[in-house]
Amino acid sequence: QDMANEMTIVSWGGAYSTSQQNAYHTPYSENTGVTIINDESSAEAVAKLRAMNEAGNVTWDVVDVVAADAIRLCDEGLALEIDADTQLAAAPDGTSASEDFGELLVSDCFIPQIVYSTTFGYRTDLVGDNPPTEICAVFDTETYPGKRSLEKRAINNMEWALLCDGVAKEDVYDVLETPEGQEQALAKLGTIKDDVIWWSAGADTPQLLADGEVVMGSTYNGRLFSVIEEQKQPVAMLWDAQIFDLDGWIIPAGLSPERQARALDYIMFATDTQRLADQAKWISYGPARASSAPLVGQHADLGIDMAPHMPTDPENAKNTFLYNYEFWADYRDDIEAKFQAWLAK
């Protein structure tokens, strides 16, 4: 059976969903007449996809997830494998999709959409005349007294801890693989444990910063952009050792052929060079295609140039840190367990 020409696209909600609707859904609906239903369940997507799959009743057509979740879904056989070259649009200059996305194609099932980075924002009025310039300021409670907010999970925090504990950028994951390395990272985090407010929802850090409840905090760069540029709060962004991560689409496994074909058609449309560049008009996340970067224009409402706010902007990306998907796919459960045990102590 097939629902009359409609598809359900799952995403995160909020400003991010709005940007997708503007950049992808509306033009796609106009072109094809397909009705798109927005479901804001991405936070539960992994669990729900598994449950749907086991129940044999998948009701979603396209799902927006972060790369790590995509890998997990792919491993669990819950997402459709997609061949980038045949099933995605090539760049306008003819570069094949797999080349255009390059190493961002971190899983067989995952079509990257945006590059975002997790980075720090700080209250300009609370840091005195000495605004932080590098990531290790987070661990420096002497110079920057006050609370800082970190995400309540191991990923990212462990890397930053090692970086600030003197481990070279390229050795971070080798060290983190060993139990000693994990201890080392936790020990470093332990130095600021009492000064941390742990967040779990993306909206937390902006609220905490706006309240002045924390002096600095990690969050996604798009949210900081909104706090700074849209809400005009006294907050500034720290571009150092920000962690690049990807967000993109998967298509659930087990769709009927018609629905699968339509989902693929949507994906092909929504991830072409122009569409990805368009999304940046509404939110400050970088397009995942190399060919889109030059096309990024101005913010739709504020009218400011978006390029300097992109995590991919060379000025911002001077010192970035690349997330290792393979590593976290293997060690996530183990290190997460240790991290949570450490937190609970």
């Binding site: 669990a47 491993d75 309240d211 796919a329 293997d330 459960d333 240790k338 450490w342």
Partner: protein
């Protein structure tokens, strides 16, 4: 009654056992009662009990390894886990054969994820091997031990094989052990290394915090319930609306409101600083810790304490207090020796209700609990929605449910479940 001591059953006039005649006489009544209950019972059984049972069954279910790697499971049985070496070619060949089918069905990564819970790293071993195995020809491409070691040296690690061997039976106690911070070590059950122990702490904390929340609900609820029970009913009902009102405000909103109240730049701290009772640099930390959880949860659960207490206190006739006073007791003695003991069932009812509800909450602790204020349910939610380790979640849930059931049973014994009035 006259001869209750006789051992044979009492007989009715027609010589049949009295119980039998009675059952016959009552059959119609029973059928009618059951007919009324049945729709709901069937509804709850079908839509709730059975699915929940299935969900909880996952805490021991482990057939995935056997189903996906049938030949390997047999081959690895004879391998001596303590030999310190990987098994021989036969096992690798079996694994290769299993992989061939599994890759076609795209199930190999699933087993990988399952086994990765036990030994980190297996997931990527399986993923990598899967890519190669797709192109193998079982007849010609042997010996497979070398093939596997080529892909990744770790295939020679006995620990990997021990894990496969250990988790090959279709039923496992692994999740429950994990839920109790234990594991199936090389020589039987043992505790996990200290830096991975978390669940016992969380269980203890959940119980402890629920106790404290219950305690503060009692402290705050008792005077209010007393006041309500002793005011004329018109006034009491107006105040009762105040008790019910928060009950009617979204949980999420209430929790957020407490954040606004309690945080360091929040209303309370601001007021204290303004009054000069607290220095601006020494603002109180009242949220993202156990205190925050206790305040918010106490607030959320307080009506559940007040209402049963109120309904019990309403039934205590004022004559008892008068009697005590006429016998010479002061106000305090009369209250403490006469009124209070009779209100204990209300406290009991409220306590168990609050306790059971507190134990299962997770949204509020998640939002205001920081690291020290989270409950076991938060971990269950984590394993369900983020780590996908549903077996472990089910095991944790089963243990929690068992605890709640014991409490429910005790509660039923002490007060009776139908004595709870909610309004």
């Amino acid at each position: 009654m006259s001869d209750t001591t006789q051992s044979s059953p009492v007989l009715a006039a027609d010589g049949r056992p009295l119980k039998h005649s009675l059952n016959r006489a009552l059959r119609r009544q029973k059928m009618r009662a059951l007919a009324l209950i049945l729709p709901l019972l069937a509804f709850v059984l079908l839509t709730f009990i059975v699915p929940i049972g299935q969900m909880l069954f996952r805490s021991v279910q482990n057939d995935i390894v056997q189903n996906t790697l049938p030949q390997t499971v047999i081959a690895v049985q004879s391998w001596d886990a303590n030999s310190g070496e990987a098994p021989d070619e036969a096992a690798f060949a079996a694994l290769a054969a299993d992989f061939k089918t599994a890759v076609e069905n795209k199930t190999h990564t699933r087993v990988g994820s399952r086994l990765n819970y036990e030994t980190p790293g297996i997931s990527s071993l399986f993923r990598k091997a899967g890519r190669k195995a797709k192109r193998w020809d079982l007849e010609t491409d042997g010996p497979f031990k070398e093939q596997f070691l080529d892909i990744d040296e770790d295939w020679g690690d006995p620990a990997i094989w021990r894990t496969i061997q250990k988790f090959s039976p279709p039923v496992t106690s692994g999740y429950f052990l994990n839920a109790a911070d234990m594991q199936l070590g090389d020589d039987g059950v043992e505790f996990r290394p200290e830096n991975q122990q978390i669940y016992i702490t969380l269980f203890k904390r959940t119980l402890f915090m629920s106790m404290i929340i219950m305690g503060s609900c009692i402290l705050l609820g008792y005077p209010v319930a007393w006041l309500l029970a002793n005011l004329p009913s018109a006034k009491a009902n107006v105040l009762l609306i105040l008790v019910l009102l928060p009950f009617w405000t979204s949980l999420l909103v209430r929790t957020s409101a407490w954040k606004v109240m309690l945080q360091q730049q929040g209303v309370i701290n601001d007021t204290l600083v303004w009054l000069g009772l607290v220095g601006d640099d020494a603002r109180l930390v009242m949220i993202n810790n156990q205190f925050g959880t206790i305040v918010a949860m106490t607030h959320i659960l307080l009506p559940f304490m007040i209402l049963p207490m109120y309904s019990v206190m309403q039934t205590i006739p004022p004559t008892y207090l008068r009697a005590a006073k006429s016998l010479g007791a002061t106000n305090w003695t009369a209250f403490w020796r006469v009124y209070f003991p009779q209100s204990v069932p209300g406290i009991g009812a409220g306590s168990i209700l609050v306790f059971i509800l507190a134990i299962g909450y997770y949204i509020t602790p998640e939002l205001v609990g920081g690291t020290k204020g989270v409950f076991i349910s938060n971990r269950i939610a984590f394993h369900i929605s983020s780590s996908l380790n549903w077996g472990l979640a089910a095991a944790l849930g089963t243990i929690l449910l068992a605890a709640v059931l014991i409490l429910y049973w005790a509660y039923d014994k002490i007060v009776g479940i139908d004595n709870v009035k909610l309004g």
